[in-house]
């Protein structure tokens, strides 16, 4: 366990987690107005129609796979009858399929962003930074799956990466688990960690706004103007206008 290990596998993940949590809270408190999916569908929809659902549904499958592979201990799965062999088959083939869908969608979306000038013009610097980490994360993850699971003998990340992540959540970080992990997996973890660190400051905040409550609420929403002057409760950062100016000056005299 050297200093670099501690930095990469303890300090960096916790710093990223802090950034993720504190960043989201701050952004939610101070910049709800900027909290949006930043859709560019108004500009271009023929490519988006294919790229966006492929990418997003692929991502949802990928995320589900990560939850099963990383957060749920091997023993729990074995308890419900999913042994190593079944898990490996599922993770490899379903994982590869999800990765393929995600990558195809991502390539369509990236091509669209580059080729459609209307879309390119609204791409911010933060978008570019986010794309670099997102693409790198997906690329290293795909490489790891193809290199080790699909072509190689298979790497048992459930014996190293998964317990390491759970050790982080349990506040008992175990650096040694990450020492022998293949480079592709390590790079995947590091770029993903970086992505989590910048997450709240990018358009990715829309992920936390997945509107599942829509399924439960009545169609028409009513709100009273009486209890809240304006659309919703005043919150920090929402200074009410003190206009008109003339009255204001008058009252100061």
């Amino acid at each position: 366990m050297n200093n670099l290990d501690v930095l990469l596998w303890i300090a960096f993940p916790y710093a990223a987690a802090a950034s993720f949590i504190v960043g989201h809270i701050l952004r939610y408190r101070y910049d709800q107005y900027g909290w949006t999916s930043r859709s560019s569908q108004l500009y271009e929809s023929k490519l988006l129609k294919w790229g966006s659902p492929l990418f997003h549904y692929g991502m949802l499958a990928v995320i589900a796979g990560h939850v099963i592979g990383l957060l749920i201990p091997r023993e729990w799965l074995e308890f419900i009858g999913i042994n190593e062999h079944i898990y490996h088959l599922g993770a490899t083939w379903l994982g590869t399929a999800a990765a393929a869908v995600t990558v195809v969608g991502m390539l369509i979306l990236l091509a669209r962003r580059g080729a459609v000038k209307r879309v390119l013009k609204v791409t911010s610097a933060m978008d570019v930074v986010m794309y670099i980490f997102l693409v790198a994360t997906i690329a290293f993850g795909t490489i790891a799956v193809v290199q080790f699971q699909l072509l190689g003998a298979g790497y048992d990340y459930r014996g190293s990466v998964s317990p390491w992540i759970r050790s982080l959540f349990l506040m008992q970080p175990d650096v040694t688990l990450m020492a022998g992990v293949p480079l592709a997996f390590q790079l995947h973890v590091l770029t993903a960690t970086a992505l989590f660190a910048i997450w709240p400051f990018t358009r990715l905040v829309h992920v936390l706004s997945a509107p599942i409550w829509y399924l439960l609420r009545p169609y028409v929403v009513y709100r009273s103007r009486d209890t809240k002057l304006g659309a919703r409760k005043p919150r920090p950062g929402w200074n009410r206008s003190t206009l008109p100016v003339k009255e204001k000056e008058h009252s100061m005299k």
């Binding site: 859709s39 013009k121 929402w238």
Partner: protein, 555 residues
């Protein structure tokens, strides 16, 4: 019975001259911002014509509004809740910016900075989306006054439903203007389609608004509104829509489009309705029944039972009185001359229209007959199927009877009042022919033709007393400037932290959230303070840096 009040509008199309003053003043007030260039909360369409955005009325294409299921229930035409979420990553019904128009500006710099040349410099149009030179091929009012209609009028969705014969003759027959704003529907499909719950109907006055804080830019409202009156701000990536100028209404003033209307054709007032009966009425099977179904949802503000129920539901006395004096109630429920726009969308729209009689009068007059004789007019209304059918396509889901009834009343008013103006004896039979009395005709004439300001706009002020008590409004008494100085003080109510407490009147425009002015507060010692988290990165605000040390100091 659950009584709710709805601020509503009626437009008298006979008086619209298509000057677009409403559109321009609305734009200057609300949408003259980046990202909103193509947005017209108020627009005036020439009919026949394509409308804005192009062919927005073709719901087979856009899937806006509601549809009635076989079991008699209402469902969003674009799909239920699960389908909405399933398509959240790419909305199949969303219009593209090209269905509105690509916003542009002109290269004005060229006009002043061009070197001397043989030919004069030209300000070329530049796209506001890409910055490139562009050819302007379409815009908000490209077919204004039937301009170019030979090529485009056949794409009018209303004409498409009429016979070929009618379509051929249409342009030679008549033309009128249709000003449109948000309908502030009783059963709004945009609100119902919003996954975030950011859109809502105000309980007090029924105005439909978008909470700019909660909107996440999923765009379902844009496609679900059959009138296409929710727009996507492509700069902020949030939905924005007509607010019915609520900051004005709350002070008892009319909307900017109404206030500046040259033809004085807009009416504003309250309608009381039974909120429990809205869905039932919107789901009647026969589309031709929708007009009467919606009329039946409205409550008689003079009915003692309704008044008692309204009071029980928290509607203030002055609002009930305003509902009794409402010009909207007179035009919709008493005279029955106003009709809703596209009731077949089943959203229960609340901006209604008095259909134009002038095309009929013009045709009668042009044939050399007396255009104010009631017999000629009645005969023409019966005979002129083209305008009547077209108007029915707009206002009654194709049922010509209510259109004819409305036009007959307008014709009767015209004839009846001519006799009075010429000093003849008024002809009571003319009024009776349309089921009205002479006195009623005269009252309708005063409302429609004289149209005094105070008759057109009956707007009760919002009740803010209780709301302000809850806020920190009273704190403004504690700061410099002291009690009795009228309104919020400069510092708008401060807590000891020096941060400005939200509690002073709400900022109505988006820009003011970002204006540097609002970022600074003042602490107790009088120093300006600023919250850096709210800084938009542009410019330097007061309070960003500590004040420079004054020479000599203050000891």
């Amino acid at each position: 019975m659950r009584v709710m009040a709805q601020m509503s509008m009626v437009m008298n199309l006979d008086k619209c001259i298509g000057c677009h003053t409403c559109s321009v003043t609305c734009k200057q007030t609300w949408t003259n911002r980046e990202g909103m260039e193509y947005v017209w909360f108020n627009n005036v369409e020439t009919r026949p014509g394509l409308g804005y955005p192009r062919q927005y009325e073709d719901q087979e294409k856009w899937n806006g509004g509601w549809t009635r299921t076989k079991r008699g229930r209402l469902k969003l035409k674009s799909g239920g809740r699960l389908k909405k979420l399933a398509y959240i990553f790419s909305n199949p019904d969303l219009p593209s910016i090209d269905d509105y128009y690509e916003p542009w500006t002109y290269d004005y710099d060229m006009l002043t900075k061009s070197p001397q040349t043989k030919v004069g410099p030209v300000a070329r149009p530049k796209s506001l989306l890409t910055g490139d030179n562009m050819d302007i091929k379409w815009s908000g009012n490209w077919d204004d006054n039937l301009g170019g209609s030979l090529e485009t009028a056949h794409e009018d969705p209303i004409l498409a439903h009429m016979s070929d014969h009618v379509r051929m003759e249409f342009e030679n027959t008549f033309m009128f203007y249709l000003p449109r704003i948000c309908e502030h529907c009783l059963n709004p499909s945009c609100v119902s389609a919003c996954p975030s719950g950011a859109m809502y109907k105000r309980e007090e006055d029924g105005i439909v608004l978008v909470d700019q804080d909660s909107c996440r830019g999923w765009r379902m409202c844009v496609s679900s509104c059959p009138y296409k009156k929710v727009y996507f701000n492509h700069k902020t990536n949030k939905a924005e829509k007509c607010t019915l100028c609520y900051p004005l209404l709350e002070q008892g003033k009319p909307t900017i489009c109404s206030e500046t209307c040259v033809g004085r054709l807009r009416y504003l007032g309250l309608m009381l309705y039974d909120a429990d009966r809205v869905l039932e009425a919107a789901a009647v099977e026969d589309e031709h029944e929708l007009l009467d179904a919606q009329r039946s949802v409205f409550l008689d503000p003079f009915d003692p039972d309704v008044i008692a129920a309204a009071k029980a539901d928290g509607i203030a006395d002055d609002w009930i009185e305003a509902a009794q004096n409402s010009p909207i109630y007179k035009l919709i429920s008493e005279y029955k001359v106003a009709l809703p726009l596209h009731p077949e969308y089943r959203t229960m729209p609340m901006v209604w229209y008095i259909p134009p009689l002038s095309p009929v009068v013009d045709i009668v007059s042009n044939t050399g007959n007396d255009g104010e004789d009631v017999r000629n007019l009645f005969a023409a209304i019966d005979k002129l199927r083209i305008p009547v059918e077209y108007l029915a396509g707009l206002f009654t889901a194709g049922d010509t009877v209510p259109i004819e009834d409305s036009l007959r009343k307008l014709a009767a008013m015209r004839s009846y009042m001519r006799d009075i103006n010429l000093g003849n004896d008024p002809q009571e039979p003319i009024a009776n022919a349309v089921g009205m009395s002479g006195a009623e005709i005269e009252a309708m004439y005063r409302l429609l033709a004289i149209a005094k300001y105070e008759d057109r706009y009956v707007i009760p002020k919002a009740h803010v007393e209780s709301a302000r008590d809850l806020e920190d409004f009273a704190c403004s008494l504690n700061v410099d400037g002291g009690p009795g100085m009228g309104g919020p003080g400069e510092t708008g109510g401060l807590r000891k932290t020096g941060r400005r407490v939200p509690g002073t009147p709400v900022a109505a425009t988006v820009e003011s959230f970002h204006s540097l002015n609002n970022l600074t507060g003042t602490d107790e010692s009088g120093n300006k303070r600023m919250n850096l988290l709210e800084w938009d990165g542009k410019g330097i605000s007061n309070g960003m840096f500590p004040p420079p040390a004054t020479a000599g100091g203050t000891a």
